[in-house]
């Protein structure tokens, strides 16, 4: 398909976009750049594996839990645990410098998340990543794997 790119192009695109983001003067982007680089193997020829590692890092960075996600998790808990029906939040108690601090999880989660990946986009990324990692663990005499990212196993 016209808008499909190969693993080596995925790597070029990520390097290019992250370099541009760094040039825009936003220093924290360096953290992402380092994380993407660190995730890759030192196998120079394994472009599929490198692209999968880079995409997995982006997926991890971009996965933000919102208040809606918290509602879903609390709903799961309420279904399984007797006594948790009607629970709307989780508070965490810790010691501050002068007194006990109580933090509401809901108050510290965003209401909405911009640029959130759709279910289909996430499935596409996870399929690509899983296939590439499976190929990496095959020996040279094993059957070749599929040549495109399918659904996650």
């Amino acid at each position: 398909m016209a808008d499909e790119i190969e693993s080596i192009e995925v790597l070029e695109l990520i390097e290019h976009e992250l370099a541009q983001a760094r040039e825009s003067g936003l220093d924290p982007q360096h953290e992402l750049f380092v994380a993407v680089r660190s995730a890759m193997t030192d196998d120079a020829e394994d472009f599929d594996g490198k692209a999968a590692a880079a995409l997995a890092t982006l997926l991890a960075y971009g996965s933000i839990s919102s208040q809606e996600d918290l509602d879903r998790t609390l709903g799961d808990l309420a279904q399984r645990v007797e006594g948790l029906q009607g629970i709307r939040d989780v508070h965490y108690l810790g010691t501050g410098t002068l007194e006990y601090r109580e933090i509401s999880l809901r108050e510290h989660l965003p209401r909405e998340v911009e640029h959130q990946l759709t279910y289909e986009e996430r499935e596409e990324l996870e399929g690509f990543i899983a296939t590439a990692f499976r190929q990496r663990t095959r020996g040279p005499d094993d059957e070749p794997g599929p040549q495109h990212g399918g659904p996650s196993p």
Partner: protein, 220 residues
Amino acid sequence: MMTIRKATVLKALQAAIDRVKNASASSCYAQGKAFELKVLARLLSDLRLHRYTLTCTPKAKNHLTFGGAPCRPNGAGHDCIHVRKGTENYEFWVSVQFTTLSYGLGAKGLSPTHSDLHEIDVGLFEPLTGPAYPSLKQVAFAASCKAGAWSKMFAREALGLRRELGLLAEPVTSRATWFVDAVPASPAIPLALFSGDPNCTTYRGSLEKLGLYVHYLKAN
């Protein structure tokens, strides 16, 4: 060579860059706790499949209360989840510290401090009464939770915790058969490491030979 849609890669890049731009100390803490809660929900789901009964009596009407940092069992202030089946009786606690294997080997009556204690992010214990730190004898299952990007450091850290949870041994029946049948450790406490980064899946396999089970769990 494999292929993927360029538009999907660009959207993943944008989402990741947004996250880094907008990250603050409190939001990182909350994201970690949200992931930890998801791990708890996943473990409770596994227990229900194994026909355990799960109950909780929250101290507040509308919210759960957990330890927000490494802590003692606090029955008066924190909530726990009771797990029962037949004669089996356990409790899930968040962020409770246990007294380590090395402390047990060399304590000689001294109170545990610093390196004698390690936190279990989500831990299943025999019923805990009072504020004393639980010992290894009371730990049935331990999980470490890592939101955000995977780092090899997580595996190294978990291996350190693994060491303090028991000695390497021939596999024997697990203390948490609902999670894994046998564990190569004495005592046979399984240690799970949950990450929200698919890169962690490349660490599955050999670490299980040491009783460390790495799992990918979608963060949202």
